[in-house]
């Protein structure tokens, strides 16, 4: 790893060249590099925390001025209980994951002595642009090395000192490994971002980690594929036969567990029949948690007759825009789905038109209705009787995640190491040509072989 002082063009070119040799390293060599990084970061904890303290000092001042949020300040702090250890453990966790490179996913005998093999391989060069969290640098460097990809990292300016310290420790640690130094490069200044985003000849994939604004800016300013999501507008549909207690439990978690998360629920669709049987229980519980409800006319009317006057006073009227808004806060839009022979189709149509295709759920006791919902909703995650907050790479068992993608190609939902690989086709022959095969000539064998 090197804290880059060269031009973005030279850095990208060097990353591209080094990605070739990184791609051919054995899993042992890649894992050894992770061990080396882990040990070095463990050894240099004090030095890094001292650097982090400088960032924190500057950030505290900015927070007092009001030019930096308390949330960012909190994210910056590597000294918080358990955070540094989590960072260290994360490196070892990635090391222990199954090697995503070199997996054979197809083997076909094309003819005698002519075999086709499809084998997973690294993508090449990743550009990762992230904001305040300084531990991301260790996390991303680990993921990149494990998957055999070179990475160019651009951190947020608030954590310059921490990055500097972490990067110099990692850089030193990599010197004793087979990972080329130029394979992981770090930029600190914002002015290089647009240049990097233009280098589609060297950079294969951009992964932004940060605010919606960051992701949207990046998607709008590059031709390189971007893995991630700008929005997380998740919906839950309460069908007529939903269980009220289950609905209360799931929606409390989906809305209040971590309202700023991309997998928090923002829109509640309620079957007309559930307005009476389910919604009041749900509304009572989440109002107590301080959630503002933005209701359509019918749901507001019904809730008013059930809730206490104090609670009723908190109900707001929804505008159409509320159904297209990711609140990222203790706010929930509620919309009634008319009772009809196929109410679920109306809920599906609303979600396909308004959600961000991240994660959407149905609460119902009917398998048929749930299956129609899961088939019809076009989102990365479609859930039946479970909280949208389960959408997460750790929770899915991927060990770690690079991010959650709402793309329609390559990788969708929580992206683990698999999303950092592609494949190539290897053909091994004895001099066969295409011209030998075809009508009136030899026939292709096309026999599937065991993997």
């Amino acid at each position: 790893m090197s804290l880059t002082e060269s031009s973005p063009l030279k850095a990208a070119e060097a990353a591209s060249i080094s990605s070739r040799s990184l791609a051919t390293l054995s899993v042992k060599a890649r894992n050894d590099a992770l061990t080396s990084i882990h040990n070095a970061l463990s050894r240099e904890r004090d030095k890094i925390l001292q650097a982090n303290a400088l960032d924190l000092k500057a950030a505290s001042k900015a927070a007092q001025d009001g030019s930096l949020s308390q949330a960012v300040l909190k994210r910056l702090d590597l000294g918080r209980a358990g955070k540094y250890d989590d960072m260290l453990k994360g490196i070892l966790d990635v090391r222990e994951l199954e090697d995503p490179v070199g997996r054979i996913t197809l083997r076909t005998q094309l003819d005698d002595d002519l075999e086709l093999t499809r084998v997973t391989c690294p993508i090449g060069v990743l550009l990762i642009i992230f904001e305040a969290r300084p531990e991301v640098i260790a996390n991303i460097a680990s993921l990149a090395i494990k998957s055999g990809n070179a990475a160019i990292l651009k951190g947020g300016k608030e954590s310059t000192e921490s990055f500097h310290a972490i990067s110099s420790v990692i850089s030193e640690a990599l010197l004793h490994t087979k990972v080329p130094n130029a394979a992981i490069q770090l930029f600190e200044t914002r002015d290089v971002v647009n240049q990097l985003l233009s280098m589609d000849q060297y950079i294969d994939l951009v992964i932004p980690r940060g605010s919606n604004e960051l992701v949207r800016y990046i998607k709008d300013h590059t031709k390189i594929p971007v893995l991630g999501h700008a929005d997380g507008l998740c919906a839950i549909y309460i069908h007529s036969d939903a269980d009220a207690d289950m609905a209360k439990k799931v929606i409390l978690d989906s809305k209040c567990g971590y309202p700023a998360a991309c997998n928090a629920v923002e829109t509640l669709l309620v079957h007309d029949d559930a307005l009476l049987s389910v919604l009041p229980t749900v509304a009572e519980a989440i109002l107590q948690q301080g959630v503002s409800l933005r209701c359509d006319e019918k749901s507001k009317l019904i809730l008013s007759t059930f809730l206490s006057p104090a609670s009723t006073a908190l109900l707001q009227s929804a505008t159409e825009a509320d159904y297209d808004t990711e609140f990222l806060d203790l706010v929930l839009a509620i919309k009634t789905i008319p009772a009809a022979p196929h109410s679920v189709d109306l809920a599906i149509a609303h979600i396909n038109a308004h959600s961000s295709h991240h994660t959407d759920a149905i609460l119902t006791s009917s398998r048929d209705v749930a299956e129609a919902f899961m088939a019809g909703v076009d989102s990365a995650g479609v859930y039946w009787n479970a909280s949208t907050r389960i959408a997460d790479g750790m929770r899915y068992g991927f060990g770690t995640e690079v991010g959650i993608s709402t793309n329609k190609i390559h990788s969708r939902g929580p992206v683990g190491l698999e999303g950092l690989t592609i494949y190539k086709y290897l053909v091994k022959g004895k001099g066969q040509t295409a011209g030998e095969y075809g009508e009136g000539k030899k026939a292709w064998m096309h026999k599937q072989l065991p993997l």
Copy 2:
């Protein structure tokens, strides 16, 4: 299918909406639609060939003017022996392929009564832009329907009458099926292309089929992912121990089998030791086929001493630009790779820097050298002792291909139906929440279940 007269925006919106219901059709319903298209096109052969004759008449005139190439004229002709039948057979071939939709690729028990399933699904809306071949419309409509994707097709102006006829027949045929009519839409005029390329809210993937210029134009004018390749600059490296007869056979096929193909070889890298032992045999054979050789100094010198004076007179000197040129013609650039302990690494470095990452081959009798080459070359196809012309979906056993991709994400190499799908994660629970799990709480089970 409808020959669209509405605005591109309305067409794309309609395609997007219809893609939702197409995505939920059973494989039987999708296959029935293919049968229906096949039968209708079979029945209406005369009508379509009459329309095609009008296109041919106009094109012949343009060819006489010199404003259209003979190659395009030939591609337009649906009446050529076997072509119409091939088109019909292609539809049935696609119908018989394994259903790419609904395949379960991951099943994980997250907890008791909480299961995660990853299931393949259509991508959504495809925009396919193609040039002269009128049969592509039937081919692409079949692939789209089979994979559950809506498609907007934009054909070339040379085949307007043929498209018109084919599209009205397919449209009529689909009326009696469950495939929504708006799922396949056709545009004839070029002025809509830029508008369609801007509709990333409705269109999920662009597939261009045509010239390098077409593909490059499209890649430069859209934010929608593009599946395909602009260039097919393939290289073959002749190692020191390559067999001369095998090299002759493979290179004759790779260069002369179909020089305008993307998988034809354009650059020959020759190990210094093979200049004497292999290259003369190869050169003699391909010169006889009319191939122009653009040689570096050393290969030219050596060939001059071996070839007849008449052949020697045909040798040209290569410029650096020749190693970056896709000739698409009977021209081959030759470059010497110095004899060194790791000559293969020099060949790999040349290929990674100059090839278009399509398909590159090594000819060698050494397994170790071949394996180094296959690991080090970053291309969609990497071959050992086989012709680059084998890079093709039919030859790989995919039944059909949408195109060959040199992208680094999603789908690489010949793209079959699998490349037209993505997946979604389904979670089925009993009301579980994210908040129940974690340190001091319930642990995730993460038990892999059989597929």
